[in-house]
């Protein structure tokens, strides 16, 4: 396989990790977040900072996980007080706040980002394989969570928080767990991204990334792990396929987003269910 194929695979793996982890927060637990790129970015910056300071790979990645997870926990506390659209707009705020903050920090490279990230020592193929392995682990974890007691509690909180509380589910605790888990995975994805590109800038973690990730969740079918994985793969490959008209990339992305949501509001998972239903009827 060519270096290009490996880099597309790596990006795909990172997007899968991000979309699936966002799906845990939004799809499973019902906490709408438009700030996922901020956690991805804080993971990337933490890992890059430690790596540039000479920390070993494992420690740098771990730093990314911890920083993103802690930030997620803080935003999770906001979700205890704010509901629905208040939370959605607050997380949009987190997204802008992150980029606005990083941009002005000289010790994080400001506009220029961090460029002295040492190689991970695995080579580009090794990096891509590590990312894919992490993506598969994330998918497996998500499927496992969905079937576990915790997944049941998440869904209960998502369906009706007050009822969930009445039957003895500590809704607040589960929301915090969902945020911490989801953002920690995003932090790992960020760390892997930092090692993969060895060069990060604030704009790679802007609001449009948060929107793209949320689009993956909605287009995949909110709550369905496999649907979200399919959407992440499609939305990664599509821009690559349209690379020859690179200038129109955003136009096509926006247009597709409108059309897909307009004509398939339940996403890929919804389409899949419709096909299954038709098959059964026959």
């Amino acid at each position: 396989m060519s270096a290009y194929a490996f880099s597309v695979l790596a990006i795909m793996g990172i997007n899968i990790m991000l979309a699936v982890s966002l799906n845990m927060i939004t799809g499973f637990c019902g906490q709408f977040s438009l700030g996922h790129a901020a956690f991805y970015g804080s993971g990337a910056y933490a890992a890059a900072y430690f790596a540039a300071a000479g920390a070993p790979v494992v420690l740098a990645l771990f730093a990314g996980i911890v920083v993103a997870g802690l930030l997620g926990l803080v935003v999770g506390f906001a979700s205890l007080r704010l509901r629905d659209d208040f939370l959605a707009v607050t997380t949009i705020g987190v997204s802008f706040l992150f980029v606005g903050f990083v941009r002005k920090q000289a010790w994080l490279g400001a506009e220029m980002g961090i460029s002295r990230i040492p190689p991970s020592g695995l080579g580009s193929e090794g990096n891509a394989l590590l990312i894919l392995a992490c993506a598969l682990a994330t998918i497996a974890f998500s499927l496992y969570v969905n079937r576990s007691w915790m997944g049941f509690a998440f869904h209960a909180v998502s369906d009706d928080e007050n009822t969930a509380r009445t039957i003895g589910i500590p809704a607040s605790a589960y929301k915090l767990v969902a945020f911490t888990l989801g953002t920690a995975i995003a932090g790992l994805a960020g760390g892997l991204y930092a090692y993969f590109t060895q060069f990060i800038v604030p704009d790679s973690f802007g609001f449009i990334v948060s929107v793209t990730l949320m689009a993956m969740v909605v287009i995949g079918g909110t709550g369905s792990t496999l649907g979200v994985v399919a959407a992440a793969i499609i939305l990664t490959l599509l821009p690559e396929a349209f690379r020859f008209i690179n200038d129109y990339r955003l136009l096509i992305f926006g247009g597709l987003l409108v059309l897909v949501v307009r004509f398939a509001p339940e996403g890929i998972a919804g389409l899949g269910r419709a096909v299954l239903r038709m098959g059964r009827r026959r």
Binding site: A78, R81, A88, F96, L97, Y248, L257, V261
Partner: protein
């Protein structure tokens, strides 16, 4: 000292523009529970129509008139073609479609009219200066404040004094009961999209005139700020939205001076938003009424 008054005035001008933009958003939210992010596309659309028609006809007034006619049609088309079919799904589905439309329109403007933006061919207004007791203001700044005051006052009178306005408020507070009292809910929705879009387009066109510059991304950051404003105002409350717009304009203006070296202007707005929400989770308005 006069420097700080200048800052407050600039903040007030931006606050008035935010108010014109945010009123449409808060009305749409109150009615449909959709965060209408594509409202920013309407704002940019208004500015583009104004600048293109003004340069084509040589008359800025005609340009503004064209924007005020075209934008409501555009807004109603967004409702009819995009939101109406999605009403039965969770509101975030429509919101994603809305963001998609904004991204699409923004890139469309860039491709159609160029990355570097457009300027008014003949625009004497920003350099026409007045002196108010030591405070120097230009005619567009005055126009923005006047337009916002007049439009929002008319809107307030309309919703409180006319039959249609009362029907409109009834629809916002309970669509089912309003319907049973003979209010045509669908008509109200079209009306709200029309009025909201006209106000947003007016705001966009005026800002285009003030900076003498209309660019593809002009709506992007304003859209999220307007979202922050309607949340600050307590989602769906007109009075709260108005207060939040003006406060945010001024806070941004001062914030850029005092904490601008470690946060950029857009982040300041959201820092303020988060700080307020921590203290008052339901916003500044707090009361749930139109």
């Amino acid at each position: 000292m006069s420097y700080y008054i200048d800052l407050a005035f600039t903040g007030l001008v931006y606050g008035c523009m935010y108010a014109m933009m945010a009123v449409g958003l808060t009305l749409v939210y109150g009615l449909l529970r959709i965060l209408h992010i594509a409202h920013a596309a309407v704002y940019a659309f208004g500015a583009y129509v104004a600048v293109i028609v003004a340069n084509g006809t040589g008359n800025i007034g005609v340009g503004f008139l064209a924007a005020l006619i075209a934008a409501p049609l555009f807004g109603m088309a967004i409702y009819r073609l995009l939101y109406q079919p999605l009403l039965e799904y969770p509101p975030y589905v429509a919101m994603i479609a809305s963001i998609g439309l904004l991204v699409f329109m923004e890139d469309g403007f860039r491709i159609a009219f160029g990355e570097q933006g457009l300027t008014f061919a003949h625009n004497p207004y920003p350099t026409r200066l007045y002196d108010f007791a030591g405070l120097t203001v230009n005619s567009v700044q005055v126009a923005i404040i006047l337009c916002a005051t007049v439009c929002l006052t008319l809107l307030a009178l309309f919703t409180s004094r006319t039959r249609i306005g009362v029907g409109w408020r009834a629809t916002v507070s309970d669509p089912r009961i309003a319907t049973s009292f003979g209010v045509d809910v669908v008509k109200v929705r079209y009306l709200i999209f029309a009025i909201g879009s006209a106000l947003a387009a007016l705001g966009g066109a005026l800002i285009g005139l003030l900076n003498n510059f209309v660019e593809p991304t002009m709506g992007f950051v304003v859209s999220y700020k307007a979202l922050a404003i309607i949340v600050l105002g307590g989602l769906g409350s007109l009075r709260g939205t108005l207060v939040a717009s003006l406060v945010l304009g001024v806070v941004e203006s001062y914030g850029t001076i005092f904490i601008g070296h470690f946060l950029d202007r857009d982040a300041i707005a959201f820092l303020f938003l988060i700080a307020v929400l921590i203290v008052r989770p339901r916003g500044l308005g707090g009361v749930k009424a139109a």
